[in-house]
Each structure stands twice: as structure tokens, then as C-alpha cells.
Amino acid sequence: MIEIRNLSKRYGDSTVIDNVSLDLADAGITAIIGPNGAGKSTLLGMISRLQSIDAGTVHIDGLDITATPSMTLARKLAILRQENQISTRLRVIDLVTFGRYPYCKGRPGPEDLEQVQRALAFLNLDDLAQRFLDTLSGGQRQRAYIAMVLCQDTDYVLLDEPLNNLDMKHAVDIMQLMQRASQAMGKKVIIVLHDINFAACYADDIVALQNGKLAFQGHPEALITADKMKALYDIDMTIERFKGRPIGLYYA
């Protein structure tokens, strides 16, 4: 359980996260949606101790994140940020192996290497394992980063727009993989999505942010409605149904 209480963050005069309180359950997929600049990445950054907290608290399984050793948190929570820039030249397999660092401290044993192989296979990266990251396409690189995060084998997996750069097949693959991870392995997946239809199809729970405030939290069924989408994104949307889930049409 991730408990967020009265969380705030300010940059100068502007408040980018404004008194947000939120509970994220132990399992299932939570999608975070909202317009550009709503504060989604900032919220994720604060939950994962990468960005400082100005006011409020975050507890993960009862542990206050500001008072818990970083290494303990590294075995509970992994995050993929929206932007990833690595200055060294790394092979895909080396990057993914870094995901085992919280367990092996740089000296991977047979079990660690097995996890690495499994993560590579999960993301269709077997053939690319020995390639350097800077020789990959944007989508292939994104998959390598996701493999690293999965390799960290944490209960909580935070992904900030992981579908960036992915083609349709790989986007669907990733979402199905996350669904399996949450259903079969009991992982909690918190994922920032811009495509609300992916959120509608896969999320058990949707959190909508607007101007740093919590606009809504609830089941997709309750959130994906024409009124709410108009209020959140200021866009006219037609809601249809597909495989028992709401689908928003907004392309024209």
C-alpha cells in the first residue's frame, strides 16, 4: 500500500503538486492521467524519493520514504522516468543487469543472471542483448529500460509514459505484460498514460491530475465519460464501448 498524505511541491511561486492525498492499493494497475504539466511526473518522482517533498508524507508499506534507507526502498519500488539519458556506452544486457544491483551489489550470481535473461525474453530483447544502447531505435531502447526496471523485481513498479516511442504491437505487449505482472505476480503497477484508451482497457484504477490537484480517482467505468474528459482535457469526446470497457473517440 502506498499512502500519500497532503503532498505538496512548489517551484518558486507556482505549486505543481497541491495538497494531494491518495491511497494506492497493493495490487492491480493504477493509471495516472492528466494534461501536460499536470504534475504526473512530479508526483511519481516524489513517491520514488527522486524529488524532494515540500510538505506532506509518503508511506510505502508503512515505511516513511524520507526515513527509510535507499537500499530498502530499492527492493520495494522501481521507477522508469519519462526521460532517460545515459552518458556511458552500455550494452543492453549490461543495462538490464544493473536492475539486480540492489540484490547483488554489482556482482551478479546465477540467479541474478537468470532474472536478466527472463526480463530480456519478456521484452523480446534476446537478439539485441549484445547491442550498444546508442545503436538502438527509440522503441527498442525504451524496452531495454523497461526490462531493467522489471529486473529489479520490486512489488511496486512505477512507469512514466512507458509507451513513448513504442509501436502499437509493443505498446499492447507492454500493457499485457504489466497486466500479467500484476495478476500473476501480485505486483502493483503505477503507470502514467496519455492514451486514455489504454487506461480504460487495462487499468483497475485511474487517478486524474489537473493543475497539481487530484481531480478524480476511481474505476475507468466511472471516469471515462464525456463530461469528465471535457473537464479534464477540454476536448469533446464520444464514448463507445469495446469488450465491455469504455473507449473515447477524439481524433476528429
Partner: protein
């Protein structure tokens, strides 16, 4: 040939560079011996150890500084270490007079140099990181500005000096591998060994830090503590090198980047020793050629700075083209 080189494992590459270093050392020790072995071996031996230590300190501090800053064209020099060293020397010369300055107990002065330079970094760090909670890039920037400030102070002070004092200062303003004070070697070696042992323990953590600050924290690294400890270690190593031979700016850049290219891996447990060995091999080999083949007394520091500076310009041009 290139193929075969590419297939070499990092350990084999390390061994080859090690062999090169040993060869350079042997050449330096045994080439052109005229004065009899009993005199030559201890005389050259002391110089060999000193040059090796300086090269090692410069290489390790540069590689680690680049790891901390995620930037391959920076050296610790950018934080104004050499400027602070020069300011310290000019203040000493000016306040004590050149006669007294030359006579100061060498160990005492060494201790003062190292303490002031390390202390300055710690103070700056404490102020920026702990009190203001700012990041490393601001620290580097502030160091850069302090460097300019120190340089201006130095030139102000030298303007007020009499010519004899200025002359004494000139001797320390430029790096020299020929007037290394042997009495400082013992303590320098000891301190460098202790610092290296402490830094070596974090060799896997540095690999993680190389990924960037965010991934490092995500993977459980206590990034602030590691950065702080490493900075202190860098400050001590730079101080040791500077106190022995004077300010060396670009050489670290050259060996660090050569080491990345030759190591064939990102892992610090290979890159660090390789950079240390490479720096030693270049300095000692260069000194052997200059001294015993070309019979130049001085000039190594000028040559390596020239080479390093040229390399720096190349790096900047290449980066500019890439982006």
C-alpha cells in the same frame, strides 16, 4: 589486428597496459646509466615513484570526477584546485618573504597545501549540498567562479611582490617533474594508498552512478553520501599531485578518455586501474625519452599539457559536431 584487439577481455587489456607500464619503468631506470648503479638506482627510483604517484593521482581523480559529473570533458581542475594552490603559494611567498618560503619545512608545507585544498572543497560542499541542498553542477560552477577569483587574487598579490619573491613563485607556478621533493614521497604514498583503498570499495557503486543520478538512487545508492566522500577523496588526490609537482590541468582528461577507449568496458574496476597505469606509463615513458634519448632536462610537463590541451579541443569539436 583491430579485430583481435576488440576481442581482448578487459582483464587482458589491463594486463597489456600493465606490461607497457613496467617496460616504461625499466627503460626509465636502466637507460643510459653512466654514474654507476649504486647511485643511479635510488636516484632514479625516487623520481620514478614520484612520477608514477602523480600520474596515478591525476588519472584516478579525473575518472572519478567525470563519473560524478556525468561529463567526459571535465577535470577536477575546473573547480579551481590549481588556482587555489597558486593563491596559497603566492600568499605564503608574499607574507613570509621568499627566503623564508624556500626554507619552510617541506612536510609542513605539504600538510598545509593538502589541508587547505581539501578543506576548501569540504567547506564549499557543506555549504552548497548540506545547507542549500543544491546539486553537483552548481558546485562545479561555483568552483569555477572561485577559480577565477583566486587567479585574480594571485595576480593582484604578484603585482605587489618584489622581483625576488616573484622569482620564487615562478618556480611553483608551472608543473615540474624534475624538482620533486623526495622527503614528501612517504607520506604522499601512504595517504594516496588509504584514499585509494576507500574509493576502491565503491567501485561497483560508481558503475551505477554512471547511469545518472536518478537511476542510481532508484537502484538504492545513497548518492549524496557517495558523491561527498568521493569529492573529498578527489580533493586529497589532486592536492597530493599538485603539492608534488605543481598544477597539471589537461593531462587527466587525456588519460581518462584513453582509458575509457582502451578498457572496452564501463566497469570502474577495470577503468580505474587502467587509467592509473596508463598515466604512469605515459609520464614515465615520456620522461625516459626526454631525459635519456633527447637529453632534455625539462619539458615533460609542457609536452603533456600540450598533448592534453590538444585532445581537449578535439573532444569539444567532436561533441559539438555530434549535438
Amino acid at each position: 589486428m583491430m579485430r583481435a584487439l576488440k576481442r581482448l577481455s578487459p582483464a587482458a587489456r589491463l594486463a597489456w597496459v600493465g606490461l607497457l607500464t613496467v617496460l616504461a619503468g625499466v627503460a626509465f631506470m636502466t637507460w643510459n646509466v653512466r654514474a654507476g648503479w649504486a647511485f643511479t638506482l635510488p636516484f632514479r627510483g625516487e623520481k620514478l615513484v614520484a612520477i608514477a604517484l602523480v600520474g596515478y593521482c591525476i588519472a584516478i581523480s579525473t575518472v572519478l570526477f567525470q563519473t560524478l559529473t556525468h561529463n567526459r570533458i571535465l577535470t577536477p581542475g575546473i573547480m579551481g584546485f590549481d588556482a587555489l594552490y597558486l593563491l596559497l603559494q603566492s600568499v605564503l611567498v608574499f607574507s613570509l618573504g621568499n627566503l623564508f618560503y624556500v626554507q619552510i619545512n617541506a612536510q609542513l608545507k605539504w600538510l598545509l597545501d593538502v589541508a587547505v585544498m581539501t578543506g576548501a572543497v569540504c567547506a564549499l560542499y557543506y555549504w552548497l549540498f548540506v545547507r542549500q541542498r543544491r546539486d553537483l553542477h552548481l558546485l562545479v560552477l561555483v568552483g569555477l567562479i572561485f577559480g577565477v577569483l583566486f587567479r585574480s587574487f594571485t595576480s593582484l598579490i604578484t603585482r605587489m611582490m618584489d622581483p625576488a619573491e616573484f622569482d620564487a613563485l615562478q618556480d611553483v607556478m608551472f608543473a615540474s617533474f624534475n624538482q620533486i621533493d623526495g622527503s614528501l614521497l612517504g607520506i604522499s604514498l601512504l595517504v594516496a594508498a588509504i584514499v585509494s583503498a576507500l574509493l576502491w570499495r565503491a567501485r561497483y557503486a560508481y558503475d551505477v552512478l554512471n547511469l545518472g543520478d536518478d537511476p542510481a538512487i532508484t537502484l538504492g545508492l545513497d548518492q549524496r553520501t557517495l558523491v561527498m566522500r568521493t569529492l573529498v577523496g578527489i580533493a586529497i588526490l589532486v592536492s597530493i599531485a599538485t603539492a608534488l609537482v605543481g598544477p597539471v590541468t589537461f593531462f587527466g582528461l587525456l588519460v581518462a578518455n584513453l582509458a575509457y577507449a582502451l578498457a572496452g568496458t564501463h566497469q570502474h574496476r577495470y577503468v580505474l586501474p587502467l587509467a592509473g597505469l596508463l598515466a604512469t606509463a605515459i609520464l614515465i615513458g615520456g620522461q625516459a625519452i626526454l631525459e635519456h634519448l633527447l637529453h632534455f632536462g625539462t619539458g615533460l610537463s609542457i609536452l603533456i599539457e600540450f598533448g592534453g590541451g590538444l585532445f581537449f579541443i578535439l573532444l569539444v569539436i567532436r561533441q559539438g559536431r555530434r549535438s
